[in-house]
Amino acid sequence: MKIVDVAKLLNAEIVAGDATKEKEVTCIFASDLMSDVLAFARDEDVLISGLSNPQLVRTAALLDMHCIILVRGKAATDDIISLCDKKGIACLTTKLGMYEACGLLFQKNLIPNKAKSK
């Protein structure tokens, strides 16, 4: 699914990394704990979190992810927006909770990671 379609599905706004919105994504990791993301994420290209600070972007960039989604109506700070634009990572914000956002994406066959799909 393209990032722009993910945004539509979650009724989300694309607030940064607009240039990346046509990119296809397939795997998603969701967590508020960045150390857990670092420890357990494998080849996911989207990170869903309720966390709103630059470390979210740094973590996503470190793991070569293309998109971050801020849930529960968290606003993206200026730091987040500028870092996303610099790293070419799309930043989406939605009022949905993490569970609902994950559920909607799971229904559309976006999976936890490629290794698990085998």
């Binding site: 704990l33 150390s35 420890a39 966390l51 600070n53 630059p54 740094r58 470190l62 793991l63």
Partner: protein
């Protein structure tokens, strides 16, 4: 002894969460340019990032020294912070002394040191209370 191709040094600024992670991101970029396997780069970047974050949170900053050889990378993280009282306990997954405000930033889950060890081929930690901590990690590049 393999020949040293790249030597890098970084100052890691304490309590600065905006710049935290910039050194590991830079190392990651260099390893990419050198054509290192992406999975190996990820291990190295994650371990170094956790180390940087630890120095930012717990030690008031420190220094990261990176040497990239033909067959491996060596990362030395040196701080002059409070030191670790019980290293064995600090190495346990889930154990953390981070404050509530740090946890609100998404860190302090007690995974930092375990992640660093998990993603290193060789991991050494020396710490003295009141003097600081030195961590040496090395990761091999597969042939």
């Amino acid at each position: 002894m393999s020949s040293n191709s790249v030597h890098l040094e970084f100052d890691v600024v304490g309590n600065n969460f905006v710049s935290a992670g910039s050194a590991s991101n830079e190392v990651k970029g260099i390893l990419k340019q050198l054509g290192i396997d992406p999975l190996v780069i990820r291990k190295i970047a994650v371990a170094m990032y956790e180390g940087e974050i630890n120095m930012v949170i717990h030690a008031g900053g420190g220094r990261a020294i990176v040497d990239i050889f033909e067959d491996k990378i060596e990362i030395v993280l040196i701080d002059t912070g409070e030191g670790i009282e019980d290293v064995e306990l600090a190495m346990k997954e889930g154990y953390s002394t981070a404050s509530e405000s740090i946890r609100n930033l998404g860190f302090g889950a007690g995974m930092g040191l375990p992640n660093m060890k998990r993603f290193s081929d060789k991991f050494e930690l020396e710490s003295e209370v009141g003097k600081g901590t030195t961590i040496k990690m090395s990761m091999l590049f597969p042939e």
